[in-house]
Symmetry: C2
Subunit: 279 residues, 2 copies
């Protein structure tokens, strides 16, 4: 760190004493180094690491100065591009529909939140959002329950996915737009990438498809949020599954999954011809 | 063109005589050159130009071999990335919300379809879709009526936007992923890029905002499609505008625009304080 940088830091610290809006303690050099270690990349501009890992709440009760949202915007776009290129070249015969689903699954909130937790990036998040730690703990618990992508059965804290994107956006900027560097880092952090074989079906679409084959009606009964956060699935009027969750979408996905499991059990899961020809 | 290429073309033409699924006449060298001229880029792999400009219908009544969809998928992702970078660096103080709107407006169907027509790229589209020519003519007419981006008042043929994306995707692949080359071409073709000052408000949001200020209710009355493709806007129960269109969304946007124009006329457009303080 040069003399000019120290002067800048000195100024920042002085401004903080006066509670100037948006100032905040700098990220420690050691922490920056740990994050660089995880990414396998050494930043030219270390301030980008700090920006990528600073949540808007970190400045409370003051208005945030630089937080990760802009870098997340950049990283999201870069990720879209590199994962599109990845699936485009890996599957030369795949049409745009499946390519889009593959791309989306590899950059969705759950996949990215898993990446953050698996590599411990969440430990470097700078925030003052009281509920966040509990939400991260819940998600880590859920990851054990669903060791692979749950396809909508768990509710990952968006901030975890955000910091993966913001860090990749930071690398993109720090390298003057090197797609290759970002791609290499993402490949390593996110391995194994979801491929057509491991791309699970979403429980809602699977349930609808199955019931269409079986010529059975599906009805969802919704509880009243937040008192009774529960959704029940009726198939041909009979209760076959239910699901809870703070978010309606999650509860619905869980109910669909429970219903699917129940239906498959009833029909004999291994006897797939029974599903194809119900009569 | 070398002897090997001629042999390939000979084979293709022979296969076509037998009506083999998916074969089609190759794009002429002269046409490829004209497209390269428009893009300001000379392709290493000329087949990419053909693929980028071949619509699935071109092979009718046979199943398409290579058409532009995969390249469009790739180009869409590259465009997202370069336009995100463009707005990110041009507006260092803009938050992600406006950045996202700016990015979206610069790559939306209308903006890209305008790019295609302005540079005559539509003339090189290979298709056998009977209605397409008429739709392109209608759009060119509408472009004269709305010399700048109409914000949802016209209905551009998606295929026009698609070929801009597929051509940029083709350049991206042909250059082994050079964002810079794609960016340079897009900047030139799409100039002027929509910026915060020229980013028009969408008529629907503008109408809702205005009526909220005025504390007036907005109701949309929908006709029955396709017999009566019309939408009427009632403000505080009074008819203030209507719009037609084959697509409901377009009709609705036009109705909102008509209502807005009428309301502004009534309130006195220049007297903006009247809008801020209706009482």
């Amino acid at each position: 760190m040069g003399a000019a940088d120290e002067e800048v830091m000195g100024k920042r610290e002085k401004r903080e004493e006066f509670n100037v809006i948006g100032t905040a303690p700098k990220m420690g050099e050691e922490e920056v180094r740990m994050v660089e270690e995880i990414l396998g990349y050494r930043f030219i501009n270390k301030d980008l690491v700090e920006e990528a890992l600073t949540h808007g709440s970190f400045y409370l009760p003051y208005k945030p100065a630089k937080s990760y949202e802009r870098l997340e915007f950049m990283g999201d776009a870069v990720l879209t591009c590199i994962v599109a290129r990845e699936v485009f070249s890996s599957y030369p015969d795949l049409s745009p529909g499946p390519l889009t689903r593959l791309r989306a699954a590899n950059v969705d909130t759950e996949k990215l939140a898993r990446v953050a937790v698996e590599h411990g990036l969440h430990r470097y998040l700078r925030h003052k959002a009281p509920q966040l730690e509990a939400q991260i703990q819940d998600f880590m618990q859920a990851m054990m329950e669903y060791p692979i992508h749950s396809n909508g059965l768990v509710d990952p804290p968006k901030v975890l996915a955000d910091i993966v994107e913001s860090l990749l956006g930071a690398v993109f900027l720090d390298t003057s737009s090197s797609l290759e560097t970002v791609c290499e880092i993402f490949r390593r952090l996110a391995a194994p990438l979801i491929n057509p074989e491991t791309l699970g079906k979403h429980p809602m679409s699977e349930l609808y498809e199955l019931c269409q084959k079986l010529k059975m009606d599906v009805t969802f009964l919704k509880g009243v949020w937040p008192e009774n956060p529960k959704i029940e699935v009726l198939v041909d009027g009979k209760l076959v599954g239910s699901g809870n969750g703070q978010k309606k979408e999650i509860a619905q996905n869980r109910a669909a999954k429970a219903a699917l499991d129940r239906l498959k059990e009833t029909l004999g899961d291994s006897d797939s011809t029974a599903l194809d020809h119900p009569d």
